[in-house]
Symmetry: C2
Subunit: 94 residues, 2 copies
Amino acid sequence: MIKVIARSVIKENHLNEALHIYKLLVSETVKESGCITYELFQELNNPNNLTLIEEWEDMDALQCHTKTPHFITLVGQLSSLEKELPVLIYKKLF
Amino acid sequence: MIKVIARSVIKENHLNEALHIYKLLVSETVKESGCITYELFQELNNPNNLTLIEEWEDMDALQCHTKTPHFITLVGQLSSLEKELPVLIYKKLF
């Protein structure tokens, strides 16, 4: 199992538009084979800071995800609305 | 429910020592009332980068956690072994 943390900062006045796209991204991604969880969180003190916390069966499943039409289209749409921070990939220790 | 991401960078040559302390911290914290999950992850590309991903019933439970003897003692011990990054607190959107 691998865990992914993908943080982004939504540009001023684009939060609602971004959330609409994220909602589609989540609803499509959770249907993918190898996706265990894929959830969007909002920072309490900075509502424009969003974070996807993802759990995938393995690295292959994660790589397949980044080639799906919904990922390519929706992440493409998000790119103009947010500043994306480096995606961090983890394994669970305990 | 609130989600917490607490990242840290362990200093060179102190990983094993830090992991020993984190193991105690996790084993004590999961016994706390209001703790839903409390898990330690290691970044695949940077093994000295550790991240706690925590889930708490509410903010009160999180605040109680920071006042427990095991938190105060063990986080105190970790402070000399790591650089702690800002702790981020989230709510789940979807």
